[in-house]
């Protein structure tokens, strides 16, 4: 079962991403246990974890936030389509890179999968609790969902 250290680790990794890449801190809201209510925004980057422990994590956010991050990273004023998808994949990938570093080679981390559009919900393993961490970066809302056996 997931413990405090695990959840802190995922939150800190995500916070670090925002701070390092954008020089602007994000803030984490109170985490909660995911219920049937869907937690999906416009763009979602999902990473599967298997090996010694199994589960998945995803970050879901909206177009406006991704555009603003793109502006900071790439200096582009208006990015569209695949570039936005790539960016959410990039965020997920960075988090997954940190996961790989922290959990070592006993774990298998999948290539990030990006879901565009407000899907009904992201299917997580039924028998494992999922924790939702609301994130705020500038005025943008996003969610980190962590599900780890």
């Amino acid at each position: 079962m997931m413990n405090e250290t695990d959840l802190h680790f995922f939150i800190d990794s995500t916070m670090n991403y925002f701070e390092e890449v954008t020089n602007e801190k994000a803030s984490a809201g109170i985490p909660y246990i995911k219920d049937e209510e869907p937690v999906v925004l416009g763009y979602t980057g999902i990473i599967g974890i298997s090996g010694k422990r199994k589960g998945s994590i995803y970050i879901t956010t909206n177009e406006a936030m991704l555009k603003e991050i793109a502006h900071i990273i790439l200096g582009l004023d208006d990015i569209q389509g695949d570039d936005i998808k790539d960016l959410v994949g990039e965020i997920a990938n960075t988090i997954s890179g940190n996961v790989r570093q922290a959990y070592g080679s006993d774990f298998m981390i999948s290539v990030p999968v990006v879901v565009e559009g407000k899907a009904k919900d992201i299917k997580m393993p039924d028998n494992i609790q999922s924790f939702v961490v609301p994130l705020t970066w500038k005025d943008h809302k996003s969610f980190l969902v962590v599900c780890l056996e």
Binding site: M2, P31, Y32, G51, K54
Partner: protein
């Protein structure tokens, strides 16, 4: 002819053998001839010259692949003993992971690989590999280990649970799930630091309600967990700047509590007599209220070394509409806790006051077309009320409220105000904490009463009796 027969026999063997059999050359490529079972066991198509290590990629963790490379290197070294090297085989029992199209793990197979050298002219030409699906025995062993672990943990629970009447237990689970849902809702409301203390206060109240329920049923394992959690939340509330991450321990513990509830439900289901009796009618559920109260009186008197004769002859739960039963339950529990803790004295104290060593506590219900409610009466000391009463008696020169309805009305409101003032707690620290809790609950009762347009009335005399009347409109 002989060669043809040999070839044919080899094909038959490779087609029928239940193990995956294959040959690996020194580049770790799988040679063309392998058993039909191989693709089925590893759940993958093999292409000509497929590298064995590629089969492992995305199926097993990186460290196992690295160990496999080292192991296969050693297997091709003829200066090393075959059997000794085989002891290093990292694939003796290995978990193969299977994912869905999103890369999320869906299932696993446990496979057992063995390798032997194929020598020719004293040279290692290739390796013959075999693989078997050992998922069933491995998962069975894991399951047994898990069951052993859970059984040990749940034995204590079971001892606790079996003492509780099944319908009460079911009611407890239902109410607890509601409280947990309430906590989740509170957590989701978080908007910023300013909110966190308010949210924490609500969470603590819900936790408190939960632990009250568990202590009513003597579910020690659960009460302990909740108490620790509650203390942690109280400590967190004392922090100056509270951020979302500070709630991580809380959320993890909530997850554990949810899991405990799930396990309790699972335990309940495992006992047939539970499932048989877990379908109470509303009428029967109403009866549970009285049994809960009886348990509370019994447990609390024992805990506080008090003797109490509890009477509920005039308690008719059918007078309380089903929709009001939960709220009445809360009111009654709070008032009874308050009364036993404060009002009713220990046998020694009672004797020194020329009272019977056993205190009395009576509860009765009433209803008419518009109102329903209950009266709770006790013959314990009237604590602060007593002092106030004395003061008023001195003022008006009377001993009974009946003689001076106006004064007694004012007195009643004053008593109610006093009852709901948390600042009056004085005794030892632990007791003070306890009293603070009770006052917190009383405050909650007051708010809920207001919300439900209900009323509380306190009647008393200097003759050591106090009666609380709580009424709610029926519609």
């Amino acid at each position: 002819m002989e060669n043809m027969t040999l070839k044919s026999n080899k094909e038959i063997i490779l087609q029928t053998v239940e193990e995956g059999v294959f040959f690996l050359n020194s580049d770790y490529a799988i040679e063309g001839e392998y058993s039909s079972a191989l693709e089925f066991i590893i759940d993958q198509k093999i292409v000509e010259g497929q590298n064995f290590l590629d089969l492992l990629k995305s199926r097993v963790p990186e460290n196992i692949i690295n160990n496999t490379i080292e192991f296969l290197n050693l297997m091709f070294r003829d200066d090393l003993d075959d059997e000794t090297v085989n002891e290093l085989n990292p694939l003796t029992t290995v978990e193969f992971h299977f994912e869905n199209r999103w890369g999320l793990w869906t299932s696993s197979k446990f496979l057992s690989f063995r390798f032997k050298r194929v020598n020719q002219d004293g040279q290692i030409m290739k390796l013959i590999g075999t693989v078997r699906d050992v998922t069933k025995p491995v998962t069975l062993t894991k399951k047994i280990e898990e069951i052993e672990e859970t059984t040990n943990r749940q034995m204590e629970w079971l001892v606790n649970i079996l003492r509780v009447a099944p319908p009460l237990l079911k009611e407890f689970v239902d109410v607890s799930e509601l409280e947990l849902a309430q906590i989740d809702t509170e957590l989701k409301r978080f908007k910023g630091t300013e909110d966190s203390k308010v949210i924490l206060t609500r969470v603590i109240k819900s936790l408190h309600q939960l632990s009250n329920n568990t202590s009513l049923l003597n579910l020690k394992f659960f009460t302990d967990k909740l108490r620790i959690f509650e203390i942690e939340m109280q400590n967190l509330r004392k922090k100056e700047n509270i951020g979302g991450s500070d709630f991580v321990p809380a959320v993890i513990q909530l997850g554990e509590i949810r899991q405990m509830l799930k396990d309790i439900k699972h335990l309940m289901q495992r006992f047939k007599h539970y499932s048989h009796s877990l379908r109470p009618t509303r009428r029967f559920e109403g009866g549970l209220l009285l049994r809960t109260i009886e348990n509370l009186v019994e447990n609390l008197s024992r805990e506080l070394n008090k003797q109490i004769k509890f009477s509920a002859d005039k308690f008719d739960h059918t007078l309380i509409p089903y929709t009001h039963q939960q709220i009445f339950r809360e009111f009654i529990i709070v008032l009874i806790r308050f009364t036993i803790f404060y009002g009713i004295e220990t046998p020694e104290e009672r004797k020194s006051n020329n009272k019977a060593p056993t205190g009395t506590l009576q509860i009765e219900t009433f209803s008419d077309k518009q109102l329903c409610g209950f009266r709770l009466r006790h013959d314990g000391r009237l604590v602060r009320i007593e002092r106030l009463l004395q003061k008023t008696i001195e003022m008006v020169g009377s001993k009974s409220e009946r003689d001076h309805p106006i004064v007694s009305d004012q007195l009643g409101s004053e008593v109610i105000r006093l009852l709901f003032m948390p600042s009056l707690a004085t005794p030892s620290l632990s007791e003070a904490e306890y009293i603070k809790e009770i006052f917190g609950e009383m405050e909650m009762v007051k708010q809920k009463l207001k919300m439900h347009r209900g009323k509380i009335k306190i009647t008393f005399t200097s003759e050591n009796f106090c009666e609380y009347t709580i009424s709610l409109p029926i519609t």
